[in-house]
Amino acid sequence: MFFSFSNPLAMYLKTRMIFINLLLFYSNKQKQLMPMVKQETYSVCALCRGTKMLCGKTRCPVVVRYHSKNKIQPLIDKNRIDGSSPPSVFIGRIGYPKVAIGPMIPPVMGDTSMIDTPEQWLDKKIEDIVDFRSMLIRGKHIVNIYDVETSDKIVEYTRELALADNSVYAEALFERKPSGRIVFYDEVQPHGPSAPLKKFDITNPKYERHIEKAYYDTDLKANEAIFQLYRDGVQVSKIQRAFSVGAFGIKKLRRFVPTRWSITAVDSTIGETLMKKTRTYPWINEYRIYYHKQFDNHWIILMIPCEWQYELIEAWYPRTTWNPYGRGISIFNSYEFYKGRTTYAEIGGCYYAARLAVNETLNKERRQAAVVVLREAHPGYIMPIGVWNVRESVRQALKQPYQKFDTLDQALIQVSKTMDIPINRWIKNSAILKNSLYQKRLEDFHEN
């Protein structure tokens, strides 16, 4: 990577360094109290300045963010933004039940639907995703979550936007110039600068017809609406967007749902319904391994011929998003046995996203299996880009032809050949692998 010191990037990095030094000074003083700062690698950045890759990542996140900020800055340096919303909305969660709702508008025209359709992002690079997501300017308007049907124009237009099928021309007047840089979340796709909304207008949108039907059916329960739409072939991202503006459910129960929660709510609801069917199908006949690599994440899906069980195990390499300071690989898992689980998964939304994808495949084949999803997040996965990455990557893996094995041992040998982490470490961190290897069945004792 090349740049001269007279350019603005160097200036940017220099101001960063001052900030970093301050932070370091502060953190030495109260090491215990310092909050966990996500995905930043302060000390080495100052030494590296985007050239030596000291943080172990293959590309520098500071530089990636800087470039994408620079491209967008001149376009949004004003109070009034107009453009073609993909359509896209954002419902915040801070201050719940009084949250910031509003549209997301990029300062460009034409068909922008790709910007808010994660289903189409698998062939993109992380830099590209950061690039086009950072164009989305978020308007903020504080409302009570129960006020989904007020005469407030901003509420009304936000909802209309969320129900729209195609990109919609939108115009927003902000109280001040949009500020901030691109924002990352663990579950939600990143978006760009934001500002409080003053006025907001859109041209008449065309609703997605299935979603429109569910919206006007005020006796249809939200979970039934979600599954019906899913079965009618509506994209999960579209269902989730409409769900977040309280478009489904029994009328008096409708409310805004923060975007972050709505993603997992939809993943979990669809998965739950599919799972009920999965449990009634015959077992698969062989041990299967599916493999896929995406955004420097390595995915293995191991299917075992027995009753329905599910586990997601994530291994974060040092210097990746959720293991920024670690020296070793950290491994986390969540699982459920046949009966399912009643508590929220320890590893969060991605558990439910992968569970949806897995059940989708089993249902298509009308087969039942125990499924273990193994994920290795390597250093090239430089920033969190949202739970959709898990759903779509697992879907993609399950589209690949699988390898067949007669025994669990053979399948596990293949896992250790494909993945970097030794198989014993996977087993040690897996409830279902341990269960399959060690838990005997009553049939095993019939001969005695």
Binding site: R441, L442, H446, N448
Partner: protein, 245 residues
């Protein structure tokens, strides 16, 4: 024909025994009582249940099978108080079970029993036998739940021992012979079991009531106890965990 009156607590006891293992159960009805044998979907545990006609307030029945959705029955039984007498009647014409709780009549559709298997009880060589109070065992299992997902049970000629080990914590419960109601073994026996399953198996037994345990070496465990004022009997089998590697 199946037409009985039963105390709500007896029926709830039956549900507590069966529903942790299976959602759908086939009850075999005879003129002498009801029985059931079922294996859980993972084929790890088996329940064998006998309830004599004497356990019921009134009992009139011919030989037949009833396929029951246990979750549904459990939710219906939540409508009843602990002293209530429940009437159960099979309606042949509609294939439904008519449940009367006081003045409430609830008709419940039955499940087809045709595809439901009759599992065989494996012949096991289990040399160790221990009888102990439910409360003692319960305490050990509850403590183990917090540290691990499996526990080891050991019986030698002087002691019954329960041991669980997590990453950092351990649990040990050692009961010498004089604290047990009975201890009988020819050799030292040890097997490992899933706490999840095991705790469900001892949960239906309350307080000071005795539980009988039969144990072998890396063999299934047999857990037995009485329900319905000793007019019903439960046998559970649970396959062990064997950590060879």
């Amino acid at each position: 024909m199946f037409n009985v009156k039963v105390k709500s607590d007896v029926l709830k006891g039956v549900i507590d025994v069966v529903s942790p293992l299976v959602n759908e159960a086939k009850f075999n009805i005879t003129s002498k009582g009801i029985s059931l044998r079922a294996v859980d979907p993972a084929h790890v545990a088996m329940v064998d249940l006998q309830v004599k006609d004497k356990a019921f307030e009134e009992y009139k029945a011919n030989e037949m099978e009833l396929g029951i959705d246990m979750d549904k029955l459990a939710s219906i039984m939540r409508l009843s108080g602990s002293g209530d007498i429940i009437t159960l009647e099979y309606d042949e014409d509609t294939n439904r079970l008519i449940i009367k709780i006081g003045n409430l009549i609830r008709k419940m559709g039955l499940i087809d029993t045709a595809g439901m298997p009759d599992p065989k009880m494996p012949n096991l060589n289990l040399p160790a036998k221990v009888v102990l109070k439910a409360s003692e065992l319960n305490q050990g299992v509850r403590a183990s739940e917090a540290v691990s997902d499996h526990l080891a049970l050991t019986v030698d000629k002087d002691n019954f021992e329960l041991y669980a080990e997590g990453d950092t914590d351990t649990v040990n419960l050692k009961l010498p012979k004089d604290l047990l109601l009975e201890l009988n073994t020819t050799t030292k026996c040890k097997s490992l079991f899933s706490i999840d399953y095991f705790s469900n198996m001892i949960k239906p037994v309350k307080g000071e009531d005795p539980i009988t345990i039969m144990l072998g070496n890396d063999n299934p465990i047999r857990v037995e106890f009485n329900i319905a004022d000793n007019k019903g009997h439960v046998t559970y089998l649970l396959a062990p965990r064997i950590e060879s590697e």
